[in-house]
């Protein structure tokens, strides 16, 4: 059988110079190794225009081809070695601007010519077919707002952490594309098919197996994000959208779907995205469990005595947010928060709770209940259910912010061991 690598790759040499390691392929791909070498990427310092004392006395610049943020607003993602996180604390509602959507990829962001990109659907189908991007756009379209969250979302460990540091691997967009069931109908699916493999055309040729019920339920192939073509980091020109499922399964740069009677057991569903539960390793946790986080007030903000509107987001991979409760006395009592309508299924839901802070040191927390009746657990409850060797995936504990006497806000890192 032929080698899969293309001609260029075959010609290229596998020798790695130190320069390559430090500044070339690896740096571009943002590898784990980078923690050894890379400096923390700093947000650009804002270049402020000359500011008039009275803006009503000076005619401003005219219209331009592309809008920009106010130079006073500098929300940025926070890149690490292998991902880049959404600044949840800078957002006032649930749509994530596309350039702030979190990123996670395993071999960098490919550059794909949309005119050449095709999607192959084959395996247990009546007619194996290829669809161009133009073909896909001709099918009836659907728009849906939902979150995408990495199953490894949740960091803890120190008090000086922002919502972005703790839970920045979740973002929400309004996605547009075709229902996967529409394409499945077009190729005709055999009754024997119980699973499908989705594959990307990045250098990782990322693959995941998905239960076919998801295709008949709400899976989509999307080409637009917040009204425009999706960003390269989000899978341009097309990605799979599996509302409520692990981010990793929402295969980006989608090029192939194969229908099968059994799962493929790819690396990402065995060696990765699995976690210890007592003395076993749990796999195939697709749906993301309900969780919430207060994004205001949060570190490094400060609060003043008097009325403080506590704000945050809550979501569930299993459906709608039923209610969010807030505690301002370190979890002793809980009050209902207001939910911003419309509350959508498998979507970030904004909550707000008005609190009269008298200046006492305390802790503030939020917890969500989803429409299946699931109440967001504490870390201790998770440890009791799964054992103390909790892994890094599917961790959704209630999180707390410490409010100090002087109004300083700090994260409350918790440990179980």
């Amino acid at each position: 059988m032929e080698k899969r690598g293309n001609k260029d790759q075959k010609k290229a040499t596998g020798k790695i110079s130190r320069r390559t390691l430090l500044g070339g392929v690896l740096a571009a791909a943002v590898l784990p190794v980078q923690s050894l070498f890379a400096d923390e990427v700093q947000p650009e310092t804002p270049v402020l225009p000359e500011i008039a004392d009275d803006p009503t006395k000076i005619v401003g610049p005219g219209p331009g081809p592309l809008g920009k943020r106010s130079p006073f607003e500098q929300p940025v993602r926070k890149p690490s070695d292998i991902s880049s996180r959404t600044p949840l604390q800078d957002l006032h509602s649930t749509i994530t601007p596309a350039d702030l959507h979190f990123e996670r990829h395993h071999a960098g962001v490919p550059t794909i010519d949309p005119a050449k990109h095709e999607l192959l659907i084959h395996g247990l189908v009546d007619n194996p077919m290829k669809f161009t991007l133009a073909d896909i756009k001709r099918f009836p379209a659907v728009t849906r707002t939902c979150f995408i969250e990495c199953a490894g979302n949740f960091r803890t460990g120190k008090a000086e952490m922002t919502p972005q540091d703790i839970l920045g691997l979740t973002s929400q967009s309004e996605w547009t594309g075709v229902m996967l069931s529409t394409l499945f109908n077009e190729v005709g699916i055999s009754d024997k098919a119980k699973w499908f493999l989705a594959e990307g055309s990045d250098a990782a040729i990322m693959t995941r197996t998905i239960p076919i019920a998801k295709a008949w339920d709400d899976a989509m192939i999307v080409y637009a994000q917040n009204g425009e073509a999706i960003r390269p980091e989000q899978g341009y020109p097309i990605r799979l959208l599996l509302p409520g499922f692990e981010g990793n399964m929402n295969i980006k740069w989608l090029r192939r779907i194969e229908l099968s009677e059994e799962p493929y057991m790819t690396r990402e569903e065995t060696s990765k995205y699995t976690y210890p539960v007592k003395d076993k390793i749990r796999m195939f946790s697709f749906e993301l469990d309900a969780r919430s986080i207060i994004t205001y007030p949060s570190y490094p903000q400060k609060v003043n005595k008097g009325w403080v509107e506590i704000r945050g987001i809550a979501w569930s991979g299993r459906g709608k947010v039923e209610k969010v409760e807030v505690s301002t006395d370190a979890g002793k009592t809980w009050q209902l928060a207001n939910l911003q309508e419309p509350v959508l299924s498998k979507a970030h839901t904004y909550f707000r709770y008005l609190w009269d802070w008298k200046g006492e040191a305390t802790e503030i927390l939020s917890r969500v209940t989803d429409e299946t009746g699931y109440l967001q657990p504490t870390l201790a409850q998770l440890a009791e259910a799964r054992g103390v060797n909790l892994g890094g995936y599917h961790m959704n504990p209630i999180t707390a912010w410490q409010i100090k006497n002087d109004g300083t806000v700090l994260f409350k890192p918790e440990t179980i061991k």
Binding site: N127, A203, R282
Partner: protein, 199 residues
């Protein structure tokens, strides 16, 4: 027209019933998003894929061995290839060394479940996954550059280094999928279905 086509055309409620019947994951009794009220049996967009086009991309390997290509490899050749193409990122012998940070994960460890780090020996449930993954994504700097024989050999080397197969085993499409991985017995499928239980 197959059964599903008819159902989709018939009505969304029936489609829902059908998906409940075949559901692996629980559906919440909601109507699926419908994209149009009336639609043809087929739109006629797209084109038939040729056998060559499918073969060019169909590189996945399943746990039952389906997809394993022709070719073979052995531990000795694999050891050499590993030294040439993998050691610079995964370490001379693939094991984790205290205080040494490498670009790639540790690949060799012992086969005890409680040992760290997670390696092929203690955390990979299927040998086919190893073949599939390395063929598509490794070496990281030259993905897709290994021949099938080379992937068989490196798989043999890594399985032997993890004390899973003997040094004289020649791996091919007939025996690779039969290798029993030590971690296989640890893996359980998530059976949670929503609801109040914390699990």
């Amino acid at each position: 027209m197959n059964k599903k086509t008819v159902l989709i055309l018939a009505c969304p409620v029936m489609l829902l019933l059908m998906s409940l019947k075949t559901a692996f994951i629980p559906l919440q009794g909601k109507k699926p998003l419908t994209d149009s009220l009336k639609r043809p049996a087929k739109f006629g967009f797209g084109r038939p894929a040729t056998a060559q086009e499918i073969a060019a991309w169909d590189i996945d390997v399943r746990p039952d061995g389906k997809g394993l290509p022709a070719g073979q490899g052995d531990v000795k050749k694999g050891k050499l290839l590993y030294a040439q193409k993998c050691a610079m990122c995964h370490g001379v012998d693939g094991t984790e060394k205290p205080g040494v940070k490498l670009p790639g994960n540790a690949l060799v460890g012992d086969t005890s479940a409680t040992s760290k780090p997670k390696t092929i020996g203690n955390y990979w449930p299927y040998a086919t996954t190893l073949f599939d993954y390395m063929r598509r994504a490794m070496p990281y700097n030259l993905p897709g550059s290994l021949s099938n024989d080379e992937v068989y050999s490196i798989t043999a080397y890594l399985l032997n280094a993890n004390k899973i197969i003997k040094a004289d085993v020649v791996l091919d499409a007939k025996n690779l999928y039969k290798v029993v991985m030590p971690a296989k017995k640890l893996f359980i499928m998530d059976d949670r279905k929503g609801g109040p239980e914390i699990k």
